[in-house]
């Protein structure tokens, strides 16, 4: 789909800081099992993108990515 984006978390490096959840609570959550970041909406709409970009910037483990 033209213009679509994909959000990913590389869980191998995730430290479960929850920064992505603070930056974009609609898009990210932390797993109840291990506290690691999970993506709730892998292809978020445009209005959610500023929060996602913030999450990419804030993630201390630099494991959140946005492919545009």
């Amino acid at each position: 789909m033209p213009g679509s984006v994909t959000v990913r978390i590389d869980q191998t490096g995730c430290i479960g800081s929850g920064q992505c959840v603070l930056a974009a609570p609609d898009v990210f959550d932390q797993s109840d099992d291990d506290g690691l970041g999970i993506v709730l909406i892998p292809e978020p709409s445009a209005d959610l993108l500023p929060g996602v970009r913030d999450a990419v910037e804030r993630c201390p483990a630099q494991v959140v990515s946005l492919e545009e």
């Binding site: 479960g16 800081s17 603070l22 291990d34 506290g35 913030d54």
Partner: protein
């Protein structure tokens, strides 16, 4: 790429809420080598990008790192590098093994569940403060007891051992701490914690942090006890200092305090900006890493084996946000380094956020006319530990 001259580390401040005199000038031209009074020599990196690089690049090791002054007179870290459970002194997979189960205990939603209890503790302390009447010392009335009670509850440790937690924290985070004193306090604390851990293990519960560590991880008893000591100590010193410093900055900038008073519901964003600004204004040098191979940072070649410290001034770098030297509580939250960066970023950050947001909002809602009883510059400040804060904050309302 010539090596910069070695300059001494400064501690003296013209104003208690501003960076040490001459520090910004000394570090502004990129990484410089600085010499600590205890003989440790380290590069100081102070750009926003440089600090992010040092704290996240795996070529910088945290082994025997920490703050250059968190050492004995002989220059050795107070806590042994091989201490089991020394989460701040290990890298890579060994660090992740300890970090991840703890991160689960500090999850955002878990911290949000704690908020009503934090609010209750804050309200009770403000009730007492109000009943006793002005003037009051804000540090003793709220800043110190709040994080200390919360971390004890989160771990599941009776709060009556508070003094022991504090004494251990003083050696652990003290400047030129004593290894013997530290070991004495930590041993005593270990004796308090061991039966609690055994009890949680027997019960098989994981509803508090010790239960979680005892029953949901492969941590050894030694690791578990040391991690508890670290969490209790860290939970004491940092948040209490910041709650006090935030209040003092607001006293000094009434236009900014007005922004909080006008809309206390923005406390979450306001705390992020206060964190950025306050850490930046502390200035000076933060945590230290050691290069395991040659690495270029901000155009300077850091050689394998060299120590590198990050400057807290990175939070005031224009690269992070415009007018970075100003406190602007109307600003959106930015990606500041107040809780550090990289895999060792503050484990308790989300707990600290909740405490600071609730504490600050409740304080100025309860006492809209809260003001310092003496000049901020006349108050006494504690500089004996690597953390910094007001020893007492006399207030009236």
């Amino acid at each position: 790429m010539t090596e910069a001259a070695v300059c001494p580390v400064m501690h003296e401040r013209d104003h208690p809420l501003q960076p040490p005199v001459g520090f910004a000038e000394a570090v502004s031209d990129g990484p410089v080598k600085m010499l600590w009074p205890n003989g440790v020599e380290a590069w100081v990196v102070s750009s926003y990008a440089g600090v992010r690089q040092v704290l996240s690049d795996p070529r910088f090791s945290t082994r025997k790192g920490g703050h250059p002054e968190m050492r004995t007179d002989e220059g050795e870290p107070v806590v042994d590098a091989d201490q089991p459970g020394n989460i701040n002194g290990i890298d890579g997979e060994a660090h992740m093994r300890l970090r991840r189960p703890l991160a689960r205990g500090f999850m955002v939603k878990r911290m949000n569940e704690l908020r009503p209890r934090i609010q209750q503790i804050v309200d009770e302390h403000l009730d007492v403060m109000e009943a006793k009447g002005a003037p009051a010392d804000l540090v003793g009335s709220l800043c110190l007891p709040l994080p200390s009670l919360v971390i004890a509850e989160l771990l599941g440790v009776p709060p009556e051992h508070q003094e022991l937690f504090q004494a251990t924290a003083r050696e652990m985070f003290g400047k030129n701490g004593s290894k013997d004193e530290y070991i004495a306090h930590a041993t005593k604390l270990g004796e308090v914690l061991s039966p609690i851990v055994a009890e949680k293990k027997a019960a098989g519960t994981n509803d508090d942090m010790i239960g979680l560590m005892a029953n949901d991880t492969d941590f050894s008893m030694q690791e578990l006890i040391f991690l508890c000591i670290g969490l209790l100590a860290a939970g004491h010193e940092t948040t209490s200092n910041f709650l006090g410093l935030f209040t003092l900055h607001l006293f000094e900038q009434p236009d900014q305090l007005e922004i909080l008073r006008r809309d206390p519901s923005r406390a979450d964003v306001i705390v992020e900006e206060l964190m950025r600004y306050t850490v930046g204004q502390l200035g000076g040098v933060g945590i230290t890493r050691r290069a395991t191979e040659d690495v270029e940072v901000d155009g300077v070649l850091i050689k394998a084996g060299d120590w590198v410290s990050v400057s807290l001034l990175a939070n005031l770098d224009e690269e992070l946000c415009p007018r970075a030297e100003e406190l602007d509580l109307e600003r959106d939250a930015v990606s500041h380094l107040g809780f550090g960066f990289g895999p060792h970023q503050c484990l308790g950050a989300n707990l600290a956020r909740a405490e600071l947001q609730i504490g600050l909002r409740s304080l100025f809602t309860r006492f809209p006319n809260l003001r310092p009883a003496v000049q901020v510059t006349e108050m006494s400040y504690r500089n004996d530990m690597i953390t910094y804060g007001a020893a007492a904050i006399p207030v009236v309302w």
